[in-house]
């Protein structure tokens, strides 16, 4: 199939960017979306042009590196699928495809489709872990965890940190990302100890990084390649209320 691509090109963080038009010719339905871009890039290199820069690594949907907004949807049209797992059979001959970077103030563009998502790392650094040090740990089975809680924790822990939720959110909020980590750890007895502090510092850190507030649009869940649910945000809110009540200084 042949496609017309409109790709965001931007030389550097402080440069102005714009959409440029490219033709992708003889694309097979078997290709992944990124392989299609590889083909376009090979063509550009041969012509002496600069290839399109985009983030990608594992190409099996788990590392969270790939990050593009395709026709207005982060990770493109297929549900619960990262760009690297999206295949060209989801498109048809003659289609026009708009490819843009994830957009948010907290995700400044570095080049073309590559953005800086280190703000998400800093949200985790603020408290998205259990403060245990290596060694001196009792036997693993000393902590019992109800199966359902372990399953919910795992549902939340599946987040790959790609930032699609932020890119889709009309407010540029990272609440789903933050809630996934808060829920994962709050579901486990070993994570409960720091739960009150965690929910406060992580949400504060999220705002300090320039993300927006959550206002219940649920756009995040719709684009999440791992199907992380907005119920985890409700769980985060519950954790916050608990924290505020326990910490009498809350009022």
């Amino acid at each position: 199939m042949n496609l017309t691509l409109f790709i965001w090109r931007q030389k550097g963080p402080d440069k102005k960017g714009r959409l440029e038009q490219y033709e992708a010719k003889n694309i097979s339905a078997e290709m992944s979306f990124l392989e299609m871009l590889d083909v376009v890039n090979e063509g550009l290199i041969k012509k002496g042009d600069e290839p399109v820069a985009f983030d990608h690594d594992c190409r099996e949907g788990i590392c969270g590196m790939c990050s593009q907004v395709i026709n207005g949807v982060p990770h493109g049209p297929q549900e619960k699928t990262t760009v690297c797992q999206l295949h060209m059979r989801n498109f048809k001959d003659g289609d026009s495809i708009y490819i843009e970077p994830l957009r948010a103030r907290a995700f400044p563009v570095i080049k073309d489709l590559i953005v800086d998502r280190s703000a998400l790392d800093r949200v985790i650094q603020s408290g998205g872990y259990i403060s245990v040090h290596t060694g001196g740990i009792p036997d693993a089975n000393a902590i019992l965890i109800p199966k359902e809680n372990a399953e919910t924790a795992m549902d939340a822990a599946e987040c790959i940190g790609c930032g699609a939720c932020v890119a889709a959110c009309p407010n540029g909020s990272a609440m789903l990302f933050t809630a996934a980590k808060v829920t994962h750890l709050a579901m486990l007895p070993q994570g409960k100890i720091e739960a009150a502090r965690r929910v406060c510092v992580m949400t504060d850190s999220m705002m300090n990084e320039g993300f927006g507030n959550c206002s219940n649009h649920y756009e995040c869940q719709a684009v999440c390649p791992k199907g992380i649910k907005v119920q985890f945000i409700a769980k985060l809110n519950r954790e916050f209320i608990k924290a505020a009540i326990r910490r009498r200084g809350g009022f």
Binding site: K11, G12, S28, A29, E30, S32, L34, E35, D38, V39, I45, K46, D49, E50, P51, D55, H56, D57, C58, R59, E60, I62, C63, G64, M65, Q78, Q85, H87, I110, K111, R117, S118, D121, I124, Q125, S126, G127, G128, Y129, I130, V132, H133, T134, G135, I137, D139, A140, I143, I145, P146, K147, A150, A153, M154, A157, E158, I160, G161, H184, Q190
Partner: protein, 637 residues
């Protein structure tokens, strides 16, 4: 030179404890005066950096990805082994040790593997404490499953994403140390050179992948946790960015490269769909529990698989290995599939694939049962191929997966260059000639959490801190070398893209140094690779400049290293006149096609010393001594 692995003396079970008691310590007040560089933030790197930070050392951590959470350990699906014996099925530390050393076809150190088996239990404790959501039973206890042909259930897992969850655990620990200020993180930064001063590793030269700037970092010790090199085959299950560069450049600075020919080929991957293919996706081996593997009996039979009648199908694994059938070990199943395709009987339009058929299983178990067992795999298969595997057989093909070889290290994980430590897949140590399933995660974390923090202090305690700074002339020279290498890449301005060279190299490696090798094919590879390398330096086209984010240039540097490293792999494979584990030389096989080991002449680690790109490297041997296990022949009949 005969290398010494420095395994401590004493009975096997006491070696590590005794060694721990004898190693020197760095006093708490002095720890923060020592700088340690950790390159790579996968399981080994993240766990090492976090633990060293906790201990109070000053750590600089580097990764080429945008976040330390993206190391390729994250893609590991199956699980992690530990000798907990929770299911009470007779497992023990000795059994895990024995299975691992036998699985590696007796080409690894006894003492290392025993230590690994001991530490496996601590790893599970540690990970649970970090909040890794392992599978649980209804009473709330940890669940186990069996894996990779072991006779006991010792594999802990978190759905099909065990690697992800373990890595996120280590990433959490690392994040905590970054917050504390003990670890400074350098994402999107690639190591390009190891700086060796007076024979000791004292720093690295890196390139900031965003600005293109070269920088030098001095330290008292350097830890490489930079993963494996399966991408030398171009197509593999590794991430696109996985590379040999850090390890290879250390090799060029004097570190020995051990057993590079030991690579693992995984039998159940989704086949290549065309020239554009950029990577291969692995599907859990468990599929072979219910699927039947077959290929058309006739060459060039391109009917749809459902139209091929039973009589014209060749269930070749069941035919060749009646006892094990479809569950034949990884290497045997992989080789058999390749043989079929080489005969021209491959499935699918490319001809590189065989069928994995679930029709029989669906008939007697029902589709729901199959969906319950493998639903997510079938879904993934459909996403990638567009085919519904409930209705038509899957197509599978083997793919390079894991590198058992790596930089040579002693029992302390220290390479022959003092001050250089190598962890995880980047070192050669624990898997011998073949890695068992669910062992890679175990090794990466054992190295990072529980071994290196002890052994590095033994080294540091015997060396003064801050011996050199980045102003040393050796750093300047290293930086100039790295810069001129980049300039050279950019100045060729030829006609072929980096990917074209990588693809060609991959083809050479797969055909000649792949899962079956022989003297002829290896010699051929050693002729072809230098030719391709020469062409690369005359005809490669790398667009853009070096002072900006330039992904083609990053790739070019990595492929340039693969173009040298491939030759080393072929040379190592050629030297090893035996078949063992993942290394199968067609000249050395039993009448029934099993690998024929030569314990008399090759029961050693082959460690290669760099002597110049165009001169052959020098071979050093570390003899492997087995005091506690008997060298048996693997038999799957």
């Amino acid at each position: 030179m005969i290398l010494n692995g420095k395994c401590p003396a004493g009975p096997l079970a006491e070696k590590w404890d005794r060694h721990r008691n004898e190693m020197k310590l760095v006093s708490p007040a002095n720890k923060r005066k020592y700088n340690i560089i950790v390159v790579g933030t996968g399981l080994a790197g993240a766990s090492a950096a976090a633990t060293l930070g906790e201990l109070g050392y000053n750590v600089e951590a580097f990764c080429y990805q945008d976040s330390p959470r993206r190391g390729h350990s994250i893609a590991a699906q199956g699980g992690i082994n530990a000798a907990k014996n929770y299911p009470n099925d007779g497992d023990s530390i000795f059994r895990l040790f024995h299975d691992t050393i036998k699985g590696g076809d007796f080409r690894a150190r006894e003492a290392n593997i025993y230590r690994l088996a001991v530490l496996s239990n601590n790893i599970i404790d540690q990970c649970v404490a970090q909040g890794v959501p392992f599978a649980r039973d209804y009473a709330g206890y940890l669940e186990n499953r069996s894996f990779g042909g072991a006779q006991v259930s010792r594999t802990f897992y978190a759905r099909g994403q065990t690697g992800q969850q373990l890595l996120l655990g280590a990433y959490g620990a690392l994040s905590r140390q970054i917050k504390e200020g003990t670890v400074r993180l350098h994402p999107r930064t690639e190591m390009l050179d190891l700086v060796v001063i007076d024979g000791e590793a004292k720093g690295i030269t890196v390139r900031d992948l965003v600005t293109g700037k070269f920088e030098c970092y001095a330290a008292d010790a350097v830890c490489l946790c930079t993963g494996g090199y399966a991408n030398v085959f171009h197509l593999s299950t590794n991430a696109m960015g996985s590379n040999v560069t850090a390890a290879y450049r250390a090799y060029k600075k004097g570190a020995f490269f051990a057993n590079p020919c030991f690579t693992q080929i995984h039998p159940t991957c989704i086949p290549v769909s065309g020239e554009h293919q950029s990577k291969l996706t692995l599907m859990s081996e468990s599929l072979r529990n219910d699927g039947r593997v077959w290929a058309p009996k006739n060459k060039g039979d391109n009917r749809s698989p459902n139209d091929i009648p039973e009589a014209e199908r060749d269930y070749f694994l069941e035919r060749k290995y009646p006892a094990y059938g479809n569950l034949a070990p990884r290497d045997i199943a992989s080789r058999a599939a390749k043989e079929i395709c080489d005969e021209g009987r491959g499935a699918g339009s490319s001809g590189y694939g065989v069928y994995l058929d679930f029709a029989d299983a669906i008939k007697h178990l029902g589709e729901n049962k199959i969906r319950e067992r493998y639903g997510n795999l079938f879904e993934m298969y459909e996403k990638i191929t567009g085919e519904n595997a409930y209705k038509q057989p899957m197509r599978i093909y083997p793919a390079p997966h894991y590198a058992m070889g790596g930089l040579w290290v002693d029992y302390n994980l220290q390479s022959n260059v003092p001050g250089l430590f190598v962890l995880g897949e980047a070192n050669f140590s624990d898997h011998g000639a073949n890695r068992l399933g669910a062992s890679a995660l175990m090794q990466g974390l054992a190295d990072g959490y529980f071994i290196l923090p002890y052994t590095i202090s033994d080294y540091l305690a015997q060396t003064a801190f801050g011996k050199v700074n980045a102003g040393h002339p050796e750093f300047r020279r290293s930086m100039e070398d790295a810069e001129s290498f980049t300039k050279k890449l950019l100045s060729v301005n030829g006609k072929k893209t980096v990917s074209e060279f990588h693809r060609e190299l991959g083809r050479i490696m797969w055909d000649n140094v792949g899962m079956e090798r022989n003297e002829g094919s290896l010699k051929k590879a050693m002729e072809l690779i230098p030719g391709l390398r020469a062409e690369f330096w005359e005809n490669v086209k790398v667009p853009g400049s070096g002072v900006e984010l330039n992904q083609e240039m990053e790739k070019a540097g990595r492929v340039a290293d693969f173009l040298e490293f491939g030759e080393l792999m072929a040379r190592d494979a050629l030297h090893r006149n035996e078949s063992c584990g993942g290394h199968f030389r067609t000249e050395y096989q039993m009448p029934d096609g099993e690998a024929r080991r030569d314990d008399e002449n090759f029961c050693h680690v082959a460690a290669w010393e760099f002597k110049g790109v165009d001169n052959g490297p020098e071979l050093h041997k570390e003899p492997l001594v087995f005091e506690n296990v008997e060298l048996a022949v693997r038999n799957y009949k």
